[in-house]
């Protein structure tokens, strides 16, 4: 379970997150909806261990993030633009990341690439990928190995309909015993996917 208590983050004198109190429990898909700059990504950065909050705390399974651990254990994420090594193929990029998770990552890589519709044997280098392919690889990296916490920030932007359907299906399949948080500004997308949606306005989170 992820528990966020009185979390605030400010840059200079501007608060980008104000006194946020939320709970995310396994078995649910959470949606964060808000306009650009509302604070969705900032919260996700804080939860993933990328941005230390100014005040408040984040508890993950009773352990405090930034105090008891640097990053949540067993996390998969896609925040903002996907970033991989340009002269590696999709498979090679995931093999590097997968090697930190298991000694023989071949199976989990192929499965993740299959979900997003990328060919594991494709020799095309990442730098030659289209925007949609880059996004797919970002999603594949996030769900590879089926981590306990999956965080996706605007994951559907560049996906075609077929891929979108497959990814939706996979996210729904993965939600059992996992925490999945998806930030998206598209109401229709989020309504069809999330079990619970929070509306984000000026760094504050409200129930839909």
């Amino acid at each position: 379970m992820i528990k966020i208590e009185n979390l605030s983050k400010k840059f200079g004198k501007t608060y980008v997150l104000s006194d946020v109190n939320l709970e995310f429990t396994p078995g649910m898909i959470y949606g964060l909806r808000g306009t650009n700059g509302s604070g969705k990504t900032m919260l996700l950065r804080c939860i993933t261990g990328m941005l230390k909050p100014t005040s408040g705390r984040i508890l993950i399974d009773e352990k405090e993030l930034y105090k008891d651990m640097d990053f949540p254990e067993n996390l998969g994420m896609l925040i903002e633009n996907p970033a991989f090594i340009g002269n590696f193929t999709a498979y090679e990029n995931l093999r590097i990341l997968g090697s930190y998770m298991t000694k023989n990552p071949d199976e989990i890589i192929r499965k993740a690439l299959d979900v997003v519709g990328l060919d594991p044997d494709d020799k095309k280098k990442y730098r030659k990928f289209s925007l949609g392919m880059k996004q797919k690889l970002g999603i594949a990296a996030a769900i590879m190995g089926e981590p306990d916490i999956i965080i996706l920030d605007e994951p559907f932007n560049a996906l075609d309909e077929k891929s979108l359907e497959k990814v939706h299906h996979e996210i729904c399949r993965l939600k059992d015993e996992r925490i999945i948080i998806v930030a998206c500004h598209d109401k229709t997308e989020l309504d069809s996917l999330a079990d619970k949606i929070y509306i984000v306005r000026e760094g504050r989170f409200f129930d839909e």
């Binding site: 993933t48 990328m50 941005l51 994420m77 996907p82 090594i85 990341l97 090697s99 930190y100 990296a141």
Partner: protein, 279 residues
């Protein structure tokens, strides 16, 4: 740690930087060899054949050490190599840490493996690759020279070297030239490695890729400029790494300079291994 290191070495071999650095090094060596062959080797035998053989004992015959890039005194290529050494060292892997932070790729890694291990692996691979591309031309030059020149020690009375009998490794220089070449090639490896890793330390402090590339080079030039006007001239990295020993160098100058540079390189990388905001 083994997996992180293996992955970083795999990345190194796929980057163009290491091949560009090796090509630059090879071109400088070929230029140097051509210069020595056409300007010194051929002319020596011309003089010899013109009837100067009676006075040939007064001249230094062409030998491996004289042609070697580390000791080809009159060659601009030799000087160019040692001036460019900090830049060549950065080319293979020095800028990848900066690129992985800026692109966001680092986030993918640090959620899966300890950031300290990642930075340590980067440090090791950057050091080894930077050192290798600086050592390679010195060995290549010695090898090419050995194909047509004998490995005979230089004649100390011929006055063709800056190395005096009090200089660093002077005994080896005048008795076992090949060993002198190997030791100075290793010194080039160490300096190349240290220069390359300095780019890791600077990666968090600047926002320009080209600055990361040129930082060690600029540091080296600035140090030379500042130290040359003080009593610290013998501690200038550019001078210490050069086997020509342009100024009088002793063991303490080499070891102190290496130690200080290594300390700066390591200390500047340590904060990178600690927790910091990644965005």
């Amino acid at each position: 740690m083994g997996t992180v290191l293996k992955n970083e070495f795999q990345k190194l071999l796929r980057y163009k930087g290491i091949y560009i650095a090796l090509i630059i090094g090879t071109l400088i060596v070929l230029g140097d060899i051509y210069y020595y062959y056409s300007e010194i080797y051929v002319r020596f035998w011309e003089y010899y054949n013109m009837g100067y053989e009676k006075n040939i004992g007064m001249l230094q015959p062409p030998v491996l050490m004289e042609s070697w890039i580390g000791h080809n005194l009159s060659s601009v290529y030799s000087e160019m190599f040692y001036v460019l050494l900090p830049f060549i060292a950065v080319l293979p892997f020095g800028v990848t840490y900066y690129e992985e932070i800026k692109s966001g790729y680092m986030k993918n890694v640090v959620i899966r493996v300890s950031r300290r291990k990642y930075v340590l692996a980067k440090y090791i691979v950057t050091f080894v690759s930077g050192g290798f591309v600086c050592m390679f031309p010195t060995l290549l030059s010695a090898w090419i020279a050995s194909l047509y020149l004998p490995n005979i020690p230089l004649n100390p009375t011929a006055m063709v070297s800056n190395v005096s009998n009090m200089s660093f490794l002077s005994e080896i220089f005048y008795s076992k030239p090949l060993l002198y070449i190997l030791i100075y090639s290793f010194i080039a490896f160490l300096f190349g490695g240290i220069f390359a890793t300095m780019s890791i330390g600077i990666s968090h402090l600047c926002d320009n890729r080209f600055f990361v590339y040129f930082f060690p080079f600029l540091l080296s030039i600035c140090t030379e400029y500042i130290f040359n006007s003080t009593s610290l001239m013998q501690y200038t990295p550019n001078i210490v790494v050069d086997p020509n020993q342009r100024v009088f160098i002793e063991d303490k100058h080499i070891f102190t300079t290496l130690l200080v540079m290594f300390a700066i390189s390591v200390l500047s990388c340590i904060p990178q291994g600690h927790k910091k905001n990644l965005v």
